[in-house]
Symmetry: C2
Subunit: 343 residues, 2 copies
């Protein structure tokens, strides 16, 4: 039966990606992972594999030029790609930038954008090796592609989680989502009032070092970076691993700033944490037996805190257990570019 | 002294690329070519290197949706990238597609676009391994990145040309430029009147097999694909090789169709050939001593004709010699997305 769907909006982003994922592989040798993880994995070349990821940032969809310094935008365009490399446990190596630029675009802003990109490249030892430049008739478009490397036996995929595995995240969640509400003017607050929330949104730090340490330890079973939102990204892990998950609400890492913000503006901090997106922390699943060693290693390596928020389960539902023991089923709806995010 | 340049339009595409090409390399090991050739070259990995290229196509800049079937647009988006891999002598292997899509974009067109991309992927054994999908507030943006492979000692760069080398191209030039004039309505002709000119523009065939044979032969010194226009792309070879060139006007390969078209609409076929762009033929430089062997090999391998159009010279100018022996200096101005093309 022909589907009765006419526009990309009707179908939605994730369903569209699923629909185009058929008939993509013609020479399967040399491919360890195609569509369906944070990076494609090709190789091996000797004892290494290459990781490839690409992210597109669109003006007035992903960023608003007069609310974000161009330098920070450049930093973020690179950082979000490095986060995808981090999510597989790899080392980012080479970067490619495609820009579509409106005709009368100020050079000053372009230069600041490149300064930001190059600053992050420098910090992580990443080489800017090419790209493409075009005119745009409406707005700035930034596509960044990154190639990384990893040892073949030290790559972490989404598909490795098993029921019983503990779920960890590397830092507090929901701050970027709160920052976005401020930036979009949905909250009566100035940008300067909540600098750490704005910073969480506009200057995320990719967890490259943490990702490498986790992958190298051999203690984890799966990993993903939190870009679409905790529930959506955990949903990706569950889908790839054919499992479900249980999140303990009281274990969700909320920063004091987020709690103050939520109180002041009558927001639901748990909702921001579950559905917000753009946290760019890592979510890791760890077989229960490895949990103590994993937590110890994380502390010893100076990676900062790591938060156990729940566990992988049988079945395909993601449930959130409230402190009183009642629970609700979360549906895995994160940010879909063509649909409204649920809550 | 601070330059008095304010917008990207003032500076121009090529000057902008030059301006951002500084401070790009932080870990030089494992990089054989960064910005400045058809592909970046990384490795070696064993006896192989990887080639990486990316091209951005913007609606109403590179294509007009209601004048080009979406399927052909998909084919071309892939083909122009394969052409860059061909220009280094490589084999295309993996493809990544980023799309920014207007909210109410018809699925029917998107599906046709992907069919076209997959068709070319299938024909060349290329795997579609990932990408990104975003909303766009204005128009369709297609960024394609391709990773190819080559034997380390069989890669051809732009920088290898030397004075005295013969210059060859693999096919007739200027047809795509003529097709563009028809498509844009600059000529009083219907799309159906000149199908081969329209096809040259909308369905270019990447010279992948030819590029491999040339690189493998060891007979050539440099290679590039003709995307920006003969003069502009030969200019890239000359710049990278620190040389000049002399083109013999009477040797430029003009198809009979182009000659008929030019006569009928009072166009300059030589101008279309020199400055037109989007031919996606290969331009190869060959040391004079290798010329006969090169031409023989091309014939024996069934690659079709190859046309000797001039030679590499000392100095930095590109000159065109007319049949009467007079000459003019060509300035290397091809298609700059932010400047008008000269003629």
């Amino acid at each position: 039966m022909e589907r009765d769907l006419e526009t990309i909006e009707d179908l939605g982003e994730f369903e569209f990606i699923r629909s185009i994922s058929q008939g993509c592989i013609h020479g399967p040798e040399g491919i360890l992972q195609g569509i369906g993880d944070d990076c494609a994995v090709i190789g091996p070349f000797g004892d290494k594999v290459l990781l490839v990821t690409t992210d597109l940032l669109v003006e007035n969809v992903h960023f608003i030029l007069d609310r974000t310094p161009a330098r920070h935008l450049g930093e973020k365009a690179v950082a979000v790609n490095l986060s995808d490399i981090a999510a597989m446990g790899g080392v980012p190596r080479h970067l490619f930038v495609s820009l579509a630029i409106p005709h009368s675009f100020p050079l000053r802003i372009l230069n600041a954008l490149y300064e930001g990109m190059k600053e992050v490249c420098r910090a992580y030892g990443v080489n800017l090796l090419g790209g493409d430049t075009s005119a745009s008739l409406a707005g700035l478009f930034i596509n960044v592609a990154v190639i990384g490397e990893a040892m073949t036996d030290q790559v972490l995929y989404r598909k490795g989680a098993s029921p019983g595995d503990s779920i960890y995240v590397t830092g507090p969640l929901g701050e970027a989502a709160a920052g976005l509400k401020i930036l979009k003017g949905q909250i009566e607050a100035g940008l300067a009032d909540w600098p750490s929330l704005i910073k969480a949104l506009t200057r995320p730090r990719p967890q490259v070092e943490e990702g490498r340490i986790i992958a190298k330890s051999g203690l984890a079973s799966a990993m993903i970076d939190l870009s679409d939102g905790l529930v959506a990204d955990l949903g990706h892990i569950c889908e790839a691993s054919n499992s479900g998950a249980e999140i303990l609400e009281e274990c969700l890492p909320l920063s004091n700033t987020l709690i103050s913000f939520a109180k002041k503006y009558n927001q639901d901090p748990i909702g921001l944490c579950l559905w917000g997106g753009e946290d760019y922390q890592l979510l890791i699943t760890v077989p229960a037996a490895n949990g103590p060693a994993f937590e110890r290693m994380f502390k010893e390596k100076g990676c900062g805190p790591v938060y156990k928020i729940g566990k992988i389960t049988e079945g395909r539902r993601i449930r959130c257990v409230r402190p009183d023991g009642t629970e609700r089923v979360l549906h895995g709806v994160g940010f879909d570019h063509f649909k409204e995010a649920g809550q």
